[in-house]
Symmetry: C2
Subunit: 282 residues, 2 copies
Amino acid sequence: MIRLDGKTVAEHVKQRLLPRIEHFKSKIGRSPHLVVVLVGDDPASQVYVKNKQLACEKLGMKSTLLRKPANLSQADLEKLISELNTDDAVDGVLVQMPLPSHLKSDKIFELLDPSKDADGFSYFSTGLLWAGKATVKPCTPAGVIEILKYYKIPLKGKNVVVVGRSHIVGKPVAALLLDENATVTVVHSHTVNMQEYTQNADVVVVAAGKPHLLGKNDFKKDAVVIDVGIHGTGKGNLHGDVRFEELEGWVSAATPVPGGVGPMTIAMLLQNTVSLAEKRKF
Amino acid sequence: MIRLDGKTVAEHVKQRLLPRIEHFKSKIGRSPHLVVVLVGDDPASQVYVKNKQLACEKLGMKSTLLRKPANLSQADLEKLISELNTDDAVDGVLVQMPLPSHLKSDKIFELLDPSKDADGFSYFSTGLLWAGKATVKPCTPAGVIEILKYYKIPLKGKNVVVVGRSHIVGKPVAALLLDENATVTVVHSHTVNMQEYTQNADVVVVAAGKPHLLGKNDFKKDAVVIDVGIHGTGKGNLHGDVRFEELEGWVSAATPVPGGVGPMTIAMLLQNTVSLAEKRKF
């Protein structure tokens, strides 16, 4: 079984960005600039945001963290988005989710200028994605495709099953897999006999959000398994939606958790920011 | 075999609109108003546009046809869209496709205000569709769902296969089927062994655009078949992507061509226009 190593692929993506960042700098006179908006003080969000900033800095990109109090008003959040939309010194904007419950994330997806949508979650960006015309693709789904391509796993005409239909992963990864000419099935919590689908698949992308949901018996011999799940055990360990330890000697390749899809998300965010920066007119 | 009669369902949809149209009229003092833009003089487009107008008038809605010459410039088309976007007397706008080849339809999907997008094809509308938040849904896919619901064909948890992945039908009908909690597979020209998918499906939505592509052997006993294809024979006859005449005694229900999905498209356009009119702030 090949262990699909997200760290290696993420590093490859980042290295590929370096000359683009240098070119942008020499042309425009500054680094591509990502602004991250963090509302409130959710501890997990703080870690995510910090990792995103560190990754930017490591590549010589600029990142700015805008911290706002948990009681920020909807009007002030919208005003902030409008200001960032028109700020020439900002190339990409990411509003860290989840927002405090009194704030409407819908409104962000509506207001954020698609030309600055580093996460690719605005409605307009989603429309472009399904039309096959996206400049930026949602980070985690794009990372899944990047891993599959890095390891030269064929997708064209293949039976690919996506487990889960979230707006963050399941649906957009289905769009990207169709773009790769895969035959795509989306199964989910209402699916009857999920195993019948996964057992026939050449590639299974698991984004169910349920720890240890699938194991060896759910996959056919020599299948490729991509595990998007990430769950804490409370003891500092992480595991995915798949019982990885069962797969050795059965499937042909799989992503571990941690170290699989996880590291890709930030790499794709950096790539999106650079792509948006390059597309801007100065 | 139940013959799924699109004329009956379309009539049902239209009747359901009548009180909404009356209510809008009495509240706002005018009828919901659809503007159809027709560029050039493609004969098929002229027929489609005329049918849309007649259907509007029959229900007491207002329709305006804006005919533009085939050599209309991109700038003038964009100016026209901007004017319609801000015209308070216009509730829905439809730009008849295909446009002459020198014009960019992409730009329409970008510029047309989603609050007036009667066809539901703008990028923003597509994004809302995939987020499950659409006010208007693309007409033909919405018509497919309407037929399935009218005939109380269960979708939740069912194995539904969509043949074709166009932006007009395949992809949006997949989104709507996921919203109905179906398990959805999209097969297409690159799919290997398409029959293995269609033969296992409870419901098959065929939108391949290839005359007579599928027949009895492609469906399991008692499947439900929805044929979105429509092809002229040159002798005035129409037929679909499915060999309908083979299905009797095998599948449980199917749409004929003509008289199946076809009549639904205009009914859903009228519904979209009324929905957009109702959502406007006067």
